[in-house]
């Protein structure tokens, strides 16, 4: 049995409780107080004036949370209804709608004040709210560049950089060699976290990978949604470390789902179907790098240029030292920890010295050079190029990949092999 008119009076405190319970909303509050932070943002994520018919789903979600912050509950509910009209399977939106309705009936104590508020399901949705909101509160500056994107090869039109800790995928365009921000998307990653080591550990690998193929929707189970783009895990470095597992893909979500919670996959990077469709238009099979990090380091343009020049210089020096036929200066580019296939440094270097002795001239031309810093491994870079080799007794052309590691301040090659 219930007594008389509680509804209007309890609402304000109710919503405050609700809001206070979500840690990241405090972040939001702080950001709003400082005019969305001190850093300029790439695009205005949320128009607070209700004018934009073009608001993205996520913007609508964030806008509704901001409306709640301002205690405009009716506006918030209206936004959520619009959002659900666009995406009827957006579970987080249903959860917030539930809260907005429930707040009219009784006090709400947490986001997702369901009968069992500690169930992993609700926790996942709360985490999604945090991640999505966090993105709008702490966006990187438009002109900032992830430090991984040192150098594109000319035909690499785009690069994908994933930040698993923020559940975000960024797309950068190669504009005359410089990376420019294009878009970003919310993503789901491995339920046990990142830094994949072995088959079945349900983690997302950290490293530099490439899109290897495209699996269209009609070839896949509904679970993968609008399609899948497998990536090259395990790469050369993973294999060297003995890491295994397979089938790490970028893929979509089942048709009854709009998005999955931040940590829910078995290691894949999962996007909403609309986002996957959009991203898919930019991806080049065998070409586009997918760099997965658990914490992106951002650089300004000047630092980026300096890094670019430093690494280019090393690669160029390696090339000219090879052409010089001075075996020692050439081998100085290689780490004592170098290995290639089954060969360790000692065997490999004596072999090289032998070969080198038979040369009267060497001509090496490098083209299509790309350089990417390696996440999850301090001071490592992956260099890929087309090598055009000519000498007095041999000529060949090959695609080669090197892993360079900084040792005592100097970049050395720790792995080299054909692609």
């Amino acid at each position: 049995m219930k007594l008389a008119f509680p509804i209007k009076l309890s609402r304000q405190t109710t919503v405050w409780l609700w809001f206070a319970s979500v840690a990241v909303l405090a972040l939001l509050a702080a950001a709003l107080a400082h005019g969305m932070g001190t850093r300029p943002v790439p695009r205005l994520p949320v128009q607070l004036t209700p004018s934009g018919p073009q608001l993205s789903s996520e913007s609508l979600l964030v806008k509704s949370l901001i409306e709640i912050r301002h205690n405009h509950l009716d506006v918030a509910l209206n936004d959520i209804d619009n959002l659900l009209h666009l995406n009827p399977n957006f579970r987080l939106a249903h959860l917030i709608k539930g809260d907005l309705l429930m707040a009219r009936a009784r006090s709400i104590h947490t986001l997702g004040d369901v009968p069992d508020p500690t169930s992993p399901h609700v926790e996942g949705l709360r985490e999604e709210a945090r991640k999505r909101l966090q993105h709008y509160v702490e966006q990187p500056r438009a002109e900032q560049i992830p430090k991984y994107l040192v150098q594109f090869e000319p035909n690499q039109k785009y690069a994908v950089v994933v930040d698993t800790s923020r559940s975000r995928l960024y797309l950068f365009e190669n504009k005359q060699g410089e990376p420019h921000y294009v878009a970003d998307y919310y993503v789901t990653s491995g339920k046990k976290g990142s830094d994949k080591i072995k088959e079945g550990d349900e983690r997302t690998p950290l490293g530099v990978y490439f899109i290897t193929s495209h699996l269209p929707k009609n070839k896949l189970a509904d679970f993968y949604g609008d399609g899948a783009f497998p990536i090259s895990y395990p790469n050369e470095w993973d294999k060297r470390l003995g890491r295994n597992g397979h089938g790490i893909w970028l893929h979509g979500v089942p048709s009854d789902t709009y998005s999955r919670s931040p940590r829910a996959s078995s290691g894949c990077v999962v996007l909403t179907n609309p986002d996957l469709d959009e991203l898919g238009r930019y991806l080049q099979i065998g070409v586009t790098p997918v760099i997965i990090s658990d914490s992106i380091e951002w650089m300004n343009a000047a630092d980026w240029r300096a890094q670019h020049e430093e690494l280019s210089k090393y690669v160029e020096k390696w090339r000219t030292d090879w052409e010089s036929r001075n075996a020692q200066s050439y081998l100085d580019h290689y780490s004592k920890n170098f290995s290639s296939g089954n060969l360790r440094y000692d065997d490999w270097s004596s072999q090289k010295r032998q070969v080198n002795a038979g040369k009267t001239w060497i001509k090496v031309n490098l083209s299509r050079v790309s350089v990417f810093r390696y996440p999850g491994q301090d001071n490592m870079a992956v260099v890929t190029f087309l090598q055009d080799y000519h000498s007095n007794n041999l000529s060949n052309q090959m695609r080669k990949r090197q892993y360079w590691l900084q040792e005592n301040g100097l970049w050395k090659i720790v792995y080299e092999g054909s692609v």
């Binding site: 007594l3 008389a4 008119f5 249903h94 959860l95 539930g98 609700v122 949705l125």
Partner: protein, 346 residues
Amino acid sequence: MSRYRIFSALLTAGAIFFASPAVADELQEINKLVKQGQNTAALERLNGYLNSHPKDAQARFLKGLILTEQNKPSDAIAVFTALTQDYPELPEPYNNLAVLYASQQQYEKARIALEMAIRTHPSYATAHENLGDIYAKMASLSYDKALQIDKGNTSAQTKLSMIRDLFSPAAGAKAPPTKTEPAKQASAPAPVALPAPPKPVAPTVSAPLPQPVAKVAAAEPLPVKEHKESKPIQGDQNAVLESVNSWAQAWSKKDVKAYIASYTRDFKAPGGNRADWEKSRKERISHQKSIQVAIVAPKVTIDGERAVVNFKQIYRSDSLKTSTHKTLVMVKTSNKWLIQEEQVGH
């Protein structure tokens, strides 16, 4: 001037509803049949009555109730819908319409109907209460979608109150309504209902006794409550809440006698002296022109014959508006729950 208005209201009311005592008697007879569970017979007589009095709001309202009890929701909806069209100023048909919509899982329609009820009578407690239930139900549907729980149609029904106010409850007490009762109603409104303006149809709204609310779908306990509770405790819990409700209503009505009667004889009066406390309460309460007391989110803990009730109390009088946390310690005394201790704050 004011005398004249009351007088004219009475005349109008009498002209429509009490012109023929036989008419009132007929409705009372029909009600008696309903009370005895003879819905079919009651409906038959009611239809006969409606043939000669097709516009009679009270009779149509009763018909809606009977159809509801006969589990004919579509017919009942038609009756109540027509009533809202002919008498848009009456909140009760909207309320009952909402209850019926809710029983058909048409929550959005239920919500709109309840909001209409509240628009006509902004402080209409039952409609607010029902609206709360509807929102809770809609919320739980959203939660289910969020968590991918498909409960189908077996999910818990909302617990909504069907209103029987249009139907004179005095009929059960055999006494035919006297002409003084509507006037009494006008001067002593129900705790949260606004006194209805003396329009021709108003007396039908203002039942001689306030708030005899019957639960139609009362089988389920409140959604927030645990289902584990055993039946007798559930009954006690309802009894305790009802006592708290009557206490708040007596206070709201400035009915000092009923208010004082809500306390045990050994009530721990502040200051220690019960007689002094009684006197000061009498003075304070009767001093106010109007009082409204609402109980929000009551929590009941029962231990045998003793119950502790925590709630937020919202008090409004002409001079004061407060919101406090209150704890009542209640004891079961000759089958009634009475207040033994009253504490403000946590």
